[in-house]
Structures are given as C-alpha cells and as structure tokens.
C-alpha cells in the first residue's frame, strides 16, 4: 500500500528448507509487527542493525532468523520493509484472516472475545462454545455461543482449524481430543492443566500466573545475583541497577 511497487517478483526467492528453531518462529511475530509499523511510517528499507534495536535482539540474530526462510536482504539497502511484512505474514499463514473459535465463555473467554489484538493479527473469532445453558444461544460481543455438543457441525460450517480454549479444567483432555478429532490442528490453551496433544495436533499452553511466579522468583533472588546486567531472555527483560560502562541509555529518551 505504501512503498515501492517494484515487487511482483517471487516473494519467497528460494526454498532453502533449513531447520527453523522454535524461538526463531516466536521472534517472527515481533519482526512482522516492526516491519508493518515501519511501513505505516513510510520507511522503505531498513538495515538489520536498526531493526534489531527496534525489536530488541542482536543484528546477527535478526539476520540469521530471516535468512532461515530465504534470501531477502538487499546487501546495501537492507530489507524492503513492505515486502518483508507481507512475506513474514505469508510464512506464518496470517496473510489473510482466518476464522477461529473460542471454548469457554467465562470471564477470561469474554475478555478474549472483546480483545482487538486477535483481529489485528489476522484471527477472527467466528464462534464461541460453552456448556452452560445460560450462555448457549446468547450473543457475546457479536459472536453467537453454541453448545459444545455441536462443535463438529459448527466448526465445519465456519471452516475453523484453530481454536482457543479458556474453559473449566474439568474434562479438558476429553474436550481437546474431541476438538482435534473434528479437524482442528492447533489449540491455544489457557487452562493451567497439563494436556496431552492428540495425534497431529499442536497445543500451545499459556499459563498466566506462571509468569507471575517467575517474576516473584527473579525479584527474590535478584539480591546476590552478580550483576547479570541488562539481560533479556525470551520475553523477560531486566536492567541492572548499576549500568557501569553502558553508554547512556539510562533514563533519558
């Protein structure tokens, strides 16, 4: 929409079919976001150094991550911002909106229904499910709530292949197995219980309190931790108290 329309050529230049690590994929999401924001700002090309600063990784890592999907960078101009945004979307399969479903219309479920982040990233919650007769048939934030018993029909009808589970812990494994049997291959699970992945099905678990416990540990053990100064692992960042010879990114800008 914004920049150089010199494209039209092959978007995925070649298919190196390399081993892509899980954490590379996790970072992909952040790269895409950065590319799209830059595109919105009218930037056409960006170098790995600047983009890495923006995302919070090292330039080398950024280059290696992107390079594991093909050769994209122009050696002396950097990466084509618009094109990379599209390319990453295509790699992740979020280049066009896909319908998903929500299981469990409790507090968390309703919050997820109103959460705008999903739509922004290409996921549309098309249907909701619950077992509570109070909720079945009602419409929440524009989405109708169906009874879990009819999941097979409804999922097929909406052509849904990914779902979010935010239900009660009881019978979770059974529910997951049944969802999987209905043709769903990816489940985002918010229930803090261990679930065995059915055959051919990916399950990503998100335990909200677990991160709090992690933080609690870090805070407690920080005393005595010999200056791990400004580390950042995964999605936890920390800045040490005494930025000894660090240039000057203390508190200014």
């Amino acid at each position: 929409m914004s920049t150089s329309e010199q494209t039209g050529t092959t978007p995925q230049p070649n298919r190196p079919e390399k081993r892509v690590s899980m954490q590379t994929v996790e970072r992909l999401s952040a790269y895409r976001k950065a590319f799209e924001e830059l595109d919105r700002d009218g930037v056409e090309f960006i170098h790995s150094q600047q983009l890495a600063d923006l995302v919070g990784v090292t330039p080398a890592q950024l280059r290696r991550d992107l390079a594991s999907f093909g050769t994209f960078g122009n050696i002396s101009r950097g990466y084509n911002v618009y094109q990379m945004g599209r390319t990453i979307s295509r790699i992740m399969g979020t280049d066009e909106t896909q319908s998903i479903a929500l299981f469990g219309v409790g507090d968390l479920g309703r919050a997820l229904l109103s959460y705008r982040g999903f739509e922004e990233r290409g996921f549309h919650i098309a249907a909701a499910f619950d077992v509570d007769a109070e909720k079945v048939g009602r419409v929440f934030a524009g989405r109708r709530c169906y009874h879990v018993d009819h999941l097979e029909t409804v999922l097929r009808e909406f052509d849904i292949h990914m779902v979010v589970v935010a239900s009660r812990p009881e019978g979770l494994q059974t529910l997951v197995d049944r969802i999987s049997a209905a043709g769903v291959h990816a489940i985002l699970n918010f229930v803090p219980n261990r679930v065995r992945a059915p055959e051919g099905c990916f399950i990503a678990n998100t335990d909200i309190s677990a991160k709090l416990e992690l933080l609690s540990f870090l805070v407690r053990s920080e005393v005595g931790s010999e200056s791990l100064g400004a580390r950042a692992q995964g999605d936890v960042a920390f800045a040490a108290v005494a930025p000894r010879d660090v240039t000057a990114e203390g508190m200014g800008a």
Copy 2:
C-alpha cells in the same frame, strides 16, 4: 498439612548457589503444582521418573532442576511430596500471599480481576488503576479502582512490589517507568508493545496473539516436516500422526 511431620529440620539444606537457568525457573511452577496435587491425593513420596511423566519432562531434567536449588531427594524413597511443595513455594516467594496491583481496567483487566488463578498461586490483586474517570472510584470484583495519578501513594499503602499491566499502549513506557520508580521491581505486561525495562526492574511480556501466530506457522509448515514425532518444546506440544514404534499411548486411556 497431610504427611510426615518428621520435618522441622532445615528446609533449604544448603545453599549451593549454582547457576539457575531461566527455563528451570519456568518449570518450577509446574513442579510445585504437581507436588501440591500429589499431596492433596495423599501421596507421601514420589520418584523422579513418575513425577517427570506427570509434568511432561525427562527424569534427568527434573532431577537437575531440583538439584540446582539444593539436595532434596531421599535416594531410595524419592522426594518428600509435602516438603517439596513448600520448599518450591519458598524458593519462588509464593509461600505466603503477596499483594499485587492491576493497571488498566479494560476488558482484559476485568477478566484478570475475576481470574481465580492468581489467588490460587499466592497473588492477591489488592488494587486496580485506570485513567478513565468513568472507572476511577468504582469497585470491580471487590477491588477499588484508583486513578493512575495516585499510584505512588496507593502502592505504598498496600505494600505492593509486583504489578500487572493491561492498559492501553499509549504512554506505556512512561507508565512503566513511573511504576518502577514507585518501588515496584517486577511487572507482568500484557500490552503487545516493546518496553524497555527500567533499572532494577524485571518485565515479563505476555503477548496473547503471538502464540496464535506461532501455532499458525506450525500448522502450515507441518506438511513436509519430517516426522518430528511427539516433540515438546517450552510450552508447545505436538504429537505426530504416525506413532510408528511408540509403545501404545495412542488414543486409549
């Protein structure tokens, strides 16, 4: 409460002060949960093999994780279930309930206020904050909502050192800096924007849609991925379609 009261001795036998990796700490949370559930079931001792199966890690990893905090296992009886539950809680600092605060009483914020998981893990949301005049002064799920302007006073009053942020993206960095300056050393951030950690402050980011994007990628690229059969990395689990010589945990029990 349940088992052998032969305790009373030192809970943390020694202080080996080893390097503890971040992912060890992340798993700690699952171990504690397992220990507490076993205790509730009346189990007194458990071996690394069984517990590892329960949690979904290898026995060697479980042993090494626990051993990095001290020597706990009885060589031929295994781990004292009750004692380990308490010990891990103590290590993580969740052995007694601590007060936390919530910033942003939007859809997600309100869901978090009603989320029972926090209390179960030892975190009590004592206060909420927002900038919306509509919300300030009102009480949500039993918690009063204060204006962000008064955060210093309120946080001190409730003796709060950890907070959860689920606000609008605008002014996030400023908010975080101010929260940190008020004596908070750990922030759980639900806003999908990059935030620089202020000095001496830990920030854990939780991007809900990022996991969905990860799943989308995995589903899409699964075709052609040569039988990575039943892998599980971090909090993503997968079971391959053709469990060739795998014993028999297909779909039965």
